[in-house]
Every structure is written in C-alpha cells, then in structure tokens.
Symmetry: C2
C-alpha cells in the first residue's frame, strides 16, 4: 500500500466478502430476494459476486450502468427509474432484448412513453413506484398505485411487474403499512403484484419474515460508510472502502491537511460532525473540504501524523466517492492485489 | 439542445468569452498578472484561450491536471501544492523539463523533498505558501515565510519563487497586510520575492492597483456559479455552465423531481438555500439531492414544468460539477456546437 500514490480508493476484499455474505444470509433467513443496488460500487466484478452469492439480480439507477452490467453478463436488471425520452427509450428497448429487464413508472406520462415504444413481441416489465413516506418520486396513495397498475396492465407492450418503493429511512413500518394496503387493493382487483421491491441499507437488518416486500435493494451495505455507522449499521471495522491520503501540511500544532478534498471525499454530510473518519485517529475532525485538501482538527488526538504520513479515511457517503474515481485498488490482508476501472461511472443517462 | 440526453453539462461559449475577457481587462487595468486556475474547467481549450487573452500562465491544483495541460501546449504552469513522495516528485521533475514550472512549500519537509530530487541543472521554482487567514495550508507568520524562503534559496536545486496565498474570502485586506509585511521582511533580508501570487474569484474585482500581489489566480470566474452570485459576483445571467435535466416525476402539485442528483450537481452548499438555481423558476428550491434525483419544491412558482420538460440548473459550486462529468457540451447562441472531453478530470494525484 506504500507504493500507491494518493489520493486513492482502497477496497478491502475481505470486508466486502463479509458484508455481502452477511446480507445474503439475512435475506435468505427471512425468505426475501436480494437485489443489490450497484450504484455504490459500479463494478461488474462485485455485481457478479453478488449474484454468485444468491442475489436474484441487480438494481441500477441509470441506463448507462445497466448497459455496462449487461455487457458483463448480468442477466436480470432492475432500473427503478422513470425513463423518458426517445433516446433513452431506444436504449431501453435494446437492453430489454438482452436481459430480463424491469423499470418503474409513477405517472401516466411515463407509462405512455413505455407503451409507445414496446410491443407484445418483447414486452417491458413495469413496476409502480410508490412514495411510502420518503418524499421522493412515487404515486401518493395505494389507490393511485392501483390506477397506474391498471394502466400498465392494459398496454399490450407492457407487463405489470409489481410495486417498488424507496422506504423512508428509519421508518420501515410506514412503508410496510403502505405496501400492505396497496397489495390488498391490487389482489382484490385481480392484479396481484409479481414483486414488491423495497429496502435500503440503513434499515436492511430490521426487515423480518412476513414483511410485504418480496425483494430488497440495499446498496451501501457492500462497503458501508460513516453514514451507515451513524445510523447504527455496524462499525468502522466493517467499512470496506477507504480513501488513502497523505498529510501534506501541518500548518499548526493541531491542524492536519490531507490531499483528499471535496473532489475525493465529496461534500455529503452525515449525522456525525465533519467530512469523514480518519482511521486510527477517532478524535480527529475533518472540518473543511477544499477541492484538493481536507483540513482536519487533531486537537483532541493524543498523537498526530507528520507531513508525509499516510492515513485512510472512511468517507461520509461512499456511493458518491466511488463516482469520483476512475479506478479503485483492491486490498487483501493489507496487501494491494489489483486495480479495477470503475466501469459503470461517468455514464450519461 | 433538445437532442441532448440528460443529465448533461452545457457551456455557453458567449458567456465564457465575456467572463474571461472581463477578468483579463480588470487584471490589465490594475497592472497585475492573471494566472487562471483551471481546476474549474479542466479543459485545454479554455486554458489556451485564457493564455491567448493575456494570462501569463495557468494554475493547476494537481500534477495530473498539469500534465494534461503541458500536453496541450501550455508553457507556464503553477501547481500551488505541497508535493510529496517519490512517485509525484519524479513526475514533477519530468514536467519541469517540459514547461516553466513552479510549486509551493509550507514546510521544511516539503522543501527537503524538492531539494533531494532537483539539481542546479534544472532547478525547481518554489514559492512559500502563506496562511493569511483562510486557515488552510501555509506558514503562520511573515517570519516563518522568511525562514522558509532562506531554506529554499540555500538549496542548489531550488529557486525561491516568491509567496503564494489563498486569501480569506471576503477579507482581502487581511491577506494584503500579511503579504505586505512578509515582502518587506524578504526585501530587507535581500530575498525580494519574484512573484506574490494571491487571489480567488469572489474577491477578484475588489483587487486594486498597488496591492502587494503581482499575480491573481481566480478559477471559478470562467463559469461562475450560484455561490459566486451569492457572494455578489455578477448574476445568474453570467453563469456559463448549466446542468441540463429532465423532469422525471411530479409526485404532487408542488414537488418536481429532476434527473440530476448528487452525482451530477454535487452536495456542496452555498449561502443560498437549496442545491442549485433552476433557470426560469427563480422561486423553486432544490430541497434534496439523491444520487440520481433532485427533489425540488415549486410551491412558490406561478408555473411549474411538466413531466418530460427540460430545465437547466446553475449549480452551487461549479468546480466540483465539472469533475463529475466526462464530457461537456458547448453551446453558442442556444445551439449545441461541440462536445469536449473533460481531459484533466479523474487524474490520480
């Protein structure tokens, strides 16, 4: 690791493997399908490993990611997004001929776009996106979900694929109540949902057997990050991705400046103060990110690194950090064993 | 522009040209050299244009950027960074043979690293970085600047290049006082600084003839952004870079969801509320960024866009947005006329 130039992303394969296996075991134990979100890693290697361990397929947040994953041999891909416009619909149709594909809609406009582009010869699976309290996209009531499901089911080029939600973090019971009501209405109407897709990383281990969701889509769990730790999901020892940085300046006794700024760690905040956890220096606070510098306050630390020393930082939000680097280093038992291109990053649309 | 898939970066060349020309005119009028920071655009085309308009050279924040710019034919490059470690020092030495290069140091450790790698045959220009109140890197007093200047001047492989600071935003007088004191000490000691490099975009137009700085390094001025507008530097009409996005969901009467999230707009905050300015909808507030969605509150807007409509967003902090995209579209008089690779993004170190 001493040979790697900084800043750089280091991924501990042992921790990745433990995080993946633990999640699959939990999903199996409660009888729910795991469909990991690859937005976090954007690496075909890890997507394939997730499938190998038992995932039913993967989730991608954009078409460009899904295309890369299809190229890598992933056979079942869910893009939980309202996909609009001729260019993207053409790409979607091409992808639909290659893999088992599903998407979402939360409006008649989105459904009409899909319906105009797809035909019964190669129909598109469309799930209804539901706003169960996260205040993002989604229909606003179970009644609206039913109405949109009818609309999808009535189109010869579309198949009603079920329900999808990004549940409100920390309030999985809200999503459960909403989804259970919607499923009851759909069944009553003769439109039982083939899938009910939910889940995120923070509440993943609170999911239990008997929940309405039939599949869960955690993403961050593969690496974990400071936000997950703040949410009580494991500890720093579970965090597989770190940003390797060098101390480039020690302007004062307590100020430490690292060569990883907002273009390496991203400015996303989390419930804990500062912009990341400096491994080995739990009392250090990264107070400011400039573009290529992190300014950290080490006043509370008993020892402090010297100029030229290297440290590793667990970022607040790991998904956006993956998106900043073109390459990641793989580490096994403390030794760098590989370099991977972040194949699915930087995609337009 | 209707043909461009979203999200995408659009750069208005007319506004770029106006912003560049205005800054060069100001620099000329106060008799100071302009050395634009290319971290904002990372595009050789614009760096070359900045030189063409009268800039004495450019500033890069990392070696990887400087290498790309040297490849593009830029002859004078300043990297105001403490560059450490064998790998980077080797690259620095290679670069020093190709262009007029200068770097900074704020510690004896950094100077020792440079001194060990460079020799009198091809010496390295080293400026002393000064913390004039921004609390980033830099020596803490004019006395410390003098001491480090002596150390640089004593090394056969190094040339003392002068002083450099990133001045505290909104308090240029603090930097001026500090630099003036340091220059006086250096002159008294027989070490007059060949250059005094300062400046940022927010305070650029407050700089006046007779300031101690001999060169200024604004970066953001080329595109401007919402942060600059918040700081009183021009208006939204001066912002040359916008993120083109599509309305993908209208879950409620007032909620508008766009396909540009934290992986397109970045989570950087600014003194104004929300995560960007939606052109044509000044009352809209982008309340939340998810990774691939912006959630906006249009409650205060008299009219609201429909699903499928396209809008343009002026980001809070444009420099980190450039860093997220592999390509940018060039626009002239509202027509897309080109696509450029962001050549200097994603560089390791």
């Amino acid at each position: 690791m001493d040979q790697i130039d900084t800043p750089a992303i280091m991924i501990d394969l042992g921790k990745v493997e433990a995080n993946l296996a633990r999640a699959q075991t939990h999903a199996d134990s409660i009888g729910v399908a795991l469909r990991p979100h690859i937005k976090t890693h954007k690496l075909p290697r890890f997507a394939l490993r997730q499938i190998e361990l038992g995932a039913v397929g993967i989730t991608c947040q954009k078409l460009g990611e899904a295309e890369v994953m299809a190229d890598a041999g992933i056979a079942d891909i869910f893009v939980p997004y309202n996909i609009l416009g001729a260019a993207k619909l053409d790409r979607l149709a091409a992808l639909n001929r290659r893999v088992v594909l599903s998407v979402t809609a939360d409006s008649a406009v989105t459904v009409a776009g899909y319906a105009a582009r797809f035909s019964a010869a190669a129909p598109l699976n469309v799930l209804v996106e539901c706003d169960t309290g996260a205040l993002r996209c989604g229909v606003q009531s179970p009644e609206a979900a039913l109405a949109l499901a009818y609309r999808i089911a009535a189109e010869p080029g579309l198949r009603f694929g079920g329900l999808m939600t990004y549940p409100p973090r920390g309030r999985p019971a809200d999503a459960e109540r909403w989804l259970a009501a919607a499923v009851a209405q759909l069944r009553h109407a003769g439109l039982p949902p083939p899938r009910v897709s939910s889940g995120n990383s923070p509440d993943f281990y609170q999911s239990v057997a008997g929940d309405t969701a039939t599949e869960l889509r955690p993403g961050t769990y593969i690496y974990s990050d400071r936000m997950q730790v703040a949410f009580g999901q494991g500890g720093y020892q579970d965090c597989a991705l770190t940003v390797l940085a060098t101390v480039v300046s020690r302007p004062t006794e307590t100020r430490v400046v690292l060569d990883a700024g907002s273009k390496a760690l991203a400015a996303d905040t989390c419930p804990l103060p500062g912009h990341g956890h400096v491994v080995g220096y739990p009392e250090a606070v990264i107070t400011t990110l400039n573009e290529e510098h992190a300014i950290a306050d080490f006043a509370a630390c008993a020892r402090r690194p010297a100029i030229g020393d290297r440290v590793r930082i667990i970022p607040n939000h790991v998904c956006v950090v993956s998106n900043l680097f073109d390459q990641v280093h793989l580490v096994e038992n403390g030794v760098v064993t590989g370099l991977l291109a972040v194949a699915a990053r930087g995609k337009l649309g």
